[in-house]
Symmetry: C2
Subunit: 145 residues, 2 copies
């Protein structure tokens, strides 16, 4: 039950990972993906490993890690640095949660304003605009970093 480890060209790899060839080469330059040896005057071939690495990068990026941070995670790859990896994850988690809270406050504010606007239709003054004038202050005063 082992997957075929058939090597592929950079184009095939890019297609398999659903990213651009140039992006892969950029990751190589950044040291996030290792460039395989070039067979005598020929074309490089990539193993399944490279595809997994690209998945790793894509997922970590989705989680909000920067390429530099991903580089940091890759160093921890041998699995023996769980503490450090967890710390990185916890930091990301904290900032994500802060963003969610702030967005929820904005959501409530916008929702209220839009709602008032609909009720008040036909009036000369736009409640949304007038409320925004000083109204946003009560929704996010000092919680702003």
């Amino acid at each position: 039950m082992s997957k075929k480890n058939r090597p592929m060209t950079i184009g095939a790899l890019a297609k398999a990972a659903n990213i651009g060839v140039e992006t892969i080469r950029y990751y190589q330059r950044r040291g996030l993906v290792t460039e395989p040896e070039k067979p005598f005057g020929s074309i490089r071939h990539y193993e399944e490993q490279a595809l997994e690495r690209l998945h790793f990068i894509r997922t970590a990026k989705w989680l909000g890690f920067s390429l530099d941070e991903i580089g940091g995670l890759l160093i921890l790859q041998d699995g023996t640095h769980c503490d450090e990896a967890r710390t990185l994850g916890e930091q990301k988690l904290t900032s994500v949660r802060q963003k969610i809270l702030s967005l929820q406050r904005i959501e409530r504010a916008l929702d209220e304003l839009v709602h008032e606007c609909r009720v008040q239709q036909g009036s000369v003054y736009c409640p949304l605009i007038t409320s925004l004038h000083d109204g946003l202050e009560k929704f996010s005063p000092e919680e702003r970093p």
Copy 2:
């Protein structure tokens, strides 16, 4: 109960908003902050209003809005058409809600990983790292962008 509206120089404004002078000027060029009239061959003075504007921009930026999007939000404050304002507000509301949902998915994924990491302490393999490897399939397979 009205605050003193003492005007300040751009330097004082920058200090008050805790951002750089150059950044303010950049926002002016982008049309996010209006540049006050320059008194006869002299120095511009900024009102409290400008400071509030900068707070607004900073908050919205931290929440992940681009400067262009912030420009859109600011039209709500300067505009005179209720319909347009409401429409913009509704669009923003929709995108804010999408952002919240995305961040909540990210939060769940990170939270589970960090949790597994803590439970698994002492193991040879780090669950966070291995999950990144496997592409986080079990958390949110096809909803990843």
